[in-house]
Symmetry: D2
């Protein structure tokens, strides 16, 4: 790529955190590159630049745009963390133009980890991560004080930002006021930026539009990961927070493409553990305005994605990883491995869409 | 419009029921027309042509693409149907490039009507409707036999297609098998095509992807209106039914624009009762690939839409109609009119987005 | 039975509508009667007297205490009402000491009936009913005005009281205020007393304690049938309405016995269609303070009851009727008959508890 | 009490773990004791005996019958455990004829505690507890291995039995099979008996009747605490586990009395933190067959109980404690203290039933 174009692109991205008109022209020029290999290389280049840029621009909020796998945690037969398998997975993931990694999200089985393990995993992934990527660490706990402490410790362990799930045990007490106070306290005391995390299928709590909008004006709360799948809510949040550069990430590959069209800047997608390049392709098709290809790819991803999330959960995701060149392995109990019958269903859906032979 | 372009457009639409590459070129040429008036006229023209085209092409399924208001039913002070107010509303709606009308959908308070009233309304609207538009009549009842009869009667009263809601009272009995048998029987016996209708917020029943896909191969079941708001489901349905030209309509204006991007062909939008032109503009922005404008407009519509659906329901919608030049009036009891406080919230949201002064 | 005892009993029941201390003594004397036949005869006698008594005591509210089967509607092969089978069932039911019948409740498939059929059924059952029993007719519709009319028509058709289900289609609009206005209007205009009916598993609406308590002071609202199974709610309602002789009926045989212990006066039990005598035995065991037998019987009824309600619904209930000497037959579609496998489960549970061989 | 009666009572209780016919006679004799003081003394005596008895009867399962407060944890202003306040509460509770204490149940805010704090609390309460009472420790964690370890540690810290909540985060994975494997593993490895704990309002998981029945035959799983409030389920469980002396505890004071009537042996009641004597009175009224008093008292407890559970949760319970002579104090964040308005509602309900002036 000739230097002037590189420079122009750099400028473009630094200023607005999204692709403006000028960037689009360049992107469209680039999209003429015909071979897939060149295309992917280019994507990686753009990704790397984009990861670097925010580090020296203090007043600008961290740019979250991009795709993140919420990485799974491999275990050995004694249910201990299997670091070698994790390293093997990381090496593969590092070749994919992810914006970064979410460590200790729902798919990382964080609720089955000790505090020590959670921190070791963040530190460990930090050491295995390709340069220029973001490390987002899930630091949510049920109590506010534990979340404050965990967020600090995650920052010390190397996290670039913290993903903080809604507390949820005492459901009737998890009012908008309680949520506002909780996230405000965590954000006030954290050295790294906070990303709100709403995942009603696990927690039974759907963070309300109102409280998200109120929290979005906190200088240290920079975004939201929403896994609820209610695209109207995502659109409403994007719309009502447009003045404070709040960034919304789709919480699942099932609605990644439509989410882009209402202003989401990326996705944290379980499916990216197994079909990472495809998720990144979807992002690029969108950015390059190659919408037909994006729509086609989106549709191929929905059913495999539903399988490794709603339907079969983490054990389903890990099973698919085993088939697709990664090391998934068993989940910690009480999560059971898939039955033969469930495996057959999963395999059929992945085969049907051409992701398995 | 010069005749050759007209002809080309006609051909284009007849063949594929959507805008193909050639059509797009014409559309983009047309989009250069600068005044709003011309733009709207053109839209209306296109709509009319599109409504006409299927009538003489037997083997092609009815083309549902477009926007439909599920029209409200005005009542007088004695809760009788107020035909004069309905006519007044229809005259205004007839100037908007809707693809047609949904009569006796959820927003028509069909559950509060007698069989006689339901049929009179369909016949009445048929007589008030601008030429070239489709009349889709809600013919669903709890029992299969009543639905069969109502669908026949709706056809006799002038309906072009029937929108059939899922039965829902005996929830544990409404299995996939029961749904399959129900809709199959209705479709088998109907002279007009059937559109499936899933609206879990009212019925507590979410028609499953599996049964929709199975039903989509019935020659007389041509589409789905889904109001659940789960865009992944819409995408999955579009994807899995692509071989039999099944048409999916978004059931709400809140997610109309993203729904287009995963292959929906239009929307049945409560909001179109009050902001009909805006819903049609959104459709056209999409078709003309003016995506930035579409996204902007979509976002402005979400909150007013949530207000007149989930939040305040039919009474909210009717209140907004009263403010925006239509005749809404009261709903039948037990639906209560909005309190002053609710009115204030509603007004504020419509004002904030510029739809009220 | 010697006359003085008869008189004493009569007085007792007239005054307090429940068994007071004096009545209990008599009951305990009677409980010495050893043969089952005598026991049953006695029960029937008491029942009949109790049904007669309110007719000439104007200021006293109708006494609802007792057991009611919400009778199923038999259909012929063309889905028409099968009057001969209904008569056959009624003749059997008339020999059981029921307090009366609920006609056109949920188990009567009222949502699958036309207005005409609903009224004919009430009139028909009236003609088949043993003297002295109450006829409670389900008269609820979605709209207030239709419910008002149906309640009047049910009264004309011979109903002694009307059971009015919560409207439920527009769930977000079914607020306490809407419910209060609806039931008040219906009660104001009805010549017969009104019984509130809450059945969340079918409607998705759980009538709140607050609104029930408010409605309980209406002179023409005399009770509640609650099928939700939340015994705390039943207790709270009994407790908060104790000053206005409001009567609470358990809506299911699954919790009939504990419901008596917190002040319910009877039950409308689907299971009474097949195990009517057993439900009445449970009532009598309670009234005679033979609690150990009551508890034992209650437990035997739970699983068969869950089978013919939550699990297999009306088709399950009708299947069990076919096995136990009644004529159940098929439900109207879309309710499907039980599969062979479901039948096996149902039969096993009835056999296990000794109700089938 | 003369010695022979004491002996008879002892024998009775040892043999059957419930009051048999002979015991009842004695109880009824005792019930003639007229003064409240004597009555309470007697209750305490019976309780103490009952707590002692199982210790030297190896083959007999631990007798759980009785009332347990799931004790709250007082915190100081820095959110540290306030041991002095806890001791003060314990001294008051020790004078009440509780069967024992549940430490680190939902009301103990266990999800807001570190592992260390959870164990210290169990050890601490052990040291403060009156002799002869049972200490049941909540040892549930999300993962099976953590639960196994915590249960062992709780036993070492002095727990007599462990209350193990259903894991719940990965809801779709919490199948009957997963639950069966989880609880079996925990029970297999535990030195103390296991009590299953189902509390759907917090976890979103309702342990199924089927899996409870399967688990009930495990020699080290001795009972169930069920807070769901579905009395039919409690009855079904009691009925289907009658052959293996499985013991069911009502999980709330709202349905304690009806629960006794279908075979529950006691209750773990949040309300017992503030109205402990009343909960024990209810138990005794039942055991002494003074049912009218039991019913009356039950009804007075329902609304205060709903307030300190469903409605206002732990902060409501702690607020009531502050009013009624205990030290409640604030909950850990994110649980907020009651607003003034909420306090007013709570106070009104407690006053109305005569528990506050």
């Amino acid at each position: 790529m000739p230097l002037p174009i590189f420079a122009a692109l750099q400028v473009t991205l630094c200023i607005c955190c999204r692709l403006d008109a000028f960037g689009c022209v360049i992107m469209m020029l680039m999209s003429r590159i015909s071979t897939t290999r060149n295309f992917k290389q280019l994507c990686n280049t753009i990704k790397c630049m984009s990861a670097v840029r925010y580090t020296h621009s203090h007043p600008v909020k961290m740019d979250l745009s991009g795709i993140y796998p919420p990485i799974t945690t491999p275990f050995d037969e004694s249910e201990n963390i299997d670091w070698i398998s994790l390293k093997s997975n990381m090496e593969k993931w590092n070749t994919i133009p992810f914006r970064g990694y979410v460590v200790q999200g729902s798919n990382g089985e964080y609720v089955y980890m000790t505090v020590k393990e959670r921190l070791e995993l963040v530190a460990g992934v930090k050491g295995m991560m390709a340069e220029g990527k973001l490390l987002i660490a899930g630091s949510g706990c049920e109590s506010t004080s534990a979340t404050v402490q965990m967020t600090k410790d995650m920052a010390d362990a190397g996290a670039d930002a913290a993903l903080v799930i809604t507390p949820s045990f005492y459901k009737s007490g998890m009012t908008d006021e309680a949520m506002f106070a909780h996230f405000t306290r965590v954000a006030d005391t954290s050295a790294i930026p906070i990303i709100l995390y709403s995942v009603p299928s696990n927690t039974g709590i759907d963070l309300s539009i109102d409280v998200i909008v109120r929290l979005s004006s906190h200088p240290n709360i920079i975004g939201l990961k929403d896994s609820g799948g209610d695209i109207s809510k995502l659109g409403a949040v994007v719309h009502k927070t447009q003045n404070n550069t709040f960034q919304v990430l789709a919480g699942s590959a099932s609605f990644l493409y439509p989410a882009y069209h209402i202003g989401c800047v990326g996705g944290v997608c379980a499916l990216a553990n197994v079909l990472g390049q495809e998720c990144c392709d979807l992002e690029l098709f969108f950015k390059l305005k190659r919408y037909d290809e994006a729509e086609k790819l989106q549709k191929k991803l929905i059913l495999p994605n539903l399988d490794v999330t709603r339907r079969f959960g983490v054990p389903g995701l890990k099973q698919a990883m085993d088939w697709l060149g990664y090391i998934g392995g068993a989940s910690r109990l009480p999560l059971l491995p898939l039955t033969q019958n469930q495996q057959d269903v999963l395999r059929k859906d992945f085969k049907k869409e051409g992701f398995l032979e």
